[in-house]
């Protein structure tokens, strides 16, 4: 782990929302080949942190460095390396799974249709290519979004509650995919309320950086 390059570095990150400090003095380093689970109770700012890291939310104090440079200077390079799955699946319900993936393929660069079909087959959606997403279940919608992981070339995966609505085999499949990505030198940042089976999994508990712990006692220092 010592030789792995630092991909992400957070320096003194703080975020305030509706006049409530979600977290402060957040310093962290994320290396290539890591899988990190962000922990914290509901409302502790997990989603907000992921949105900040993905560049969706720009309302924060502190600095984010990507490969040693401020991420704001490398916005284009960073966006090319990023795959972000928010808690909204990002799937258009009046399109078919294949049409949804085609748009994502264009977002990323050239991906031929055959590869998209294989991706759908890998998330057990073979046969649903031409069904409108209205008719799919919540778990299947999530799988459409997760199919992006199969053909993505991004190095950093930022996934917000990706296990929601998945069945047991889907969860196991996704776990394996995350592990494979980390082992191939990628970085996985994930929030989840369930335990992830991965021996090298690291955790970052947002409660450690909460200005006022939920028990109501002000933090010192």
């Amino acid at each position: 782990m010592a030789v792995a390059p630092v991909l992400f570095e957070l320096r003194d990150l703080a975020c305030e929302r509706d006049e409530r400090l979600l977290f402060a003095r957040l310093n962290a380093r994320f290396y290539a080949g890591q899988a990190v689970q962000i922990l914290g109770p509901n409302g502790s700012g997990k989603t907000t942190l992921l949105r900040i890291l993905a560049g969706v939310n720009r309302d924060y104090q502190g600095d984010i460095y990507w490969q040693g440079k401020p991420v704001t200077d490398l916005a284009w390079e960073f966006a090319n390396e990023l795959l972000y799955l928010g808690h909204l699946p990002g799937v258009k319900k009046s399109l078919t799974p294949l049409e949804n993936l085609r748009w994502y393929a264009a977002l990323q660069g050239a991906v031929p249709d055959e590869q998209l079909l294989t991706a759908l087959a890998q998330v057990n959606l073979a046969g649903y290519e031409d069904t409108l997403c209205y008719q799919l279940s919540a778990g299947q919608l999530r799988r459409v979004a997760l199919a992006r992981l199969v053909f993505s070339k991004a190095k950093i995966w930022i996934l917000d509650e990706p296990f929601t609505a998945l069945d047991k085999s889907g969860i196991a499949q996704l776990e394996n995919r995350l592990i494979a990505h980390a082992e191939a030198g990628g970085l996985v940042l994930v929030t989840s309320h369930q335990d992830i089976r991965f021996p090298q999994l690291q955790t970052l508990n947002l409660q450690d950086f909460a200005e006022y712990p939920t028990l109501g006692e002000p933090a010192h220092g």
Binding site: R58, D59, N80, G86, L88, K92, A105, A106, L107, A110
Partner: protein, 226 residues
């Protein structure tokens, strides 16, 4: 379809497809346009001279209101299903993706409005000499209104009830388009040249084309932050 198209064409194609899958939303402003204008002769009586005099103004005001009616939908579904944030963090220039979205939106709402207008002109006994002015002014005007309206839609997409606010933001910007558009048709109805009005509308369109997608992209970033 062998190679993936650029994000511009992909977004454009996707939005057109979505528009045709949601025919109700697309037809709504057209039906409003049709009904509102066919009510005018019923309310005012069949006085041909009176109708002819008010036709340019009525046609243009109704076209403007019809555009406002559908504006809220421009980014609403993208915002709700999360594809909007995916677009915002993509490495592609937002200017082009915004342009693609507005272009698809205009083809689905503004263009049919323009194509329908001569029919309604007949209903208001607009002289046939004014049809070219009506169509060309609406062609330029609806395109500019879509572009400018997108800024208002982007600013209010994060609010639960943005419909009324859009109108308030966008209305003042629509006023010059309305004035010059209606004046082009009115002049043409009298048999006068209307080049000047079309030139101004064209200039407004070009300005909107350059500035509005940038403002839209900026407004969306603010809306998504919330």
């Amino acid at each position: 379809m062998a190679k993936s198209p650029s994000l511009f064409t992909a977004t454009f194609r996707r939005d057109l497809l979505l528009a045709f899958r949601h025919k109700g939303e697309m037809i709504n402003p057209l039906v409003f346009f049709l009904i509102a204008i066919s009510m005018i002769p019923l309310g005012l009586g069949p006085d041909k001279d009176l109708l002819m005099r008010i036709a340019p103004g009525i046609l243009w005001v109704m076209a403007l209101l019809a555009t406002l009616l559908s504006l809220d939908n421009l980014f609403r579904s993208d915002f709700d299903d999360g594809t909007l944030e995916q677009l915002l963090i993509s490495p592609h220039p937002l200017y082009l993706s915004m342009l693609a979205k507005v272009l698809a939106y205009w083809i689905a709402t503004g263009l049919p409005l323009m194509l329908m207008s001569p029919l309604l002109g007949v209903m208001l006994s607009l002289p046939s000499g004014a049809f070219i002015a009506l169509c060309s002014s609406l062609l330029l005007g609806t395109a500019a209104m879509s572009l400018i309206g997108a800024v208002g839609a982007a600013l209010t997409v994060g609010l639960r009830k943005g419909g009324l606010l859009i109108s308030l933001i966008v209305m003042p910007l629509y006023v010059p388009i309305l004035i010059f558009g209606a004046s082009a048709v009115a002049e043409a109805a009298l048999g006068n040249p209307f080049n000047m009005q079309l030139a101004v509308l064209g200039a407004i369109l070009v300005m909107a084309l350059v500035l509005a997608p940038l403002a839209t992209a900026g407004a969306l970033r603010v809306s998504v932050n919330g």
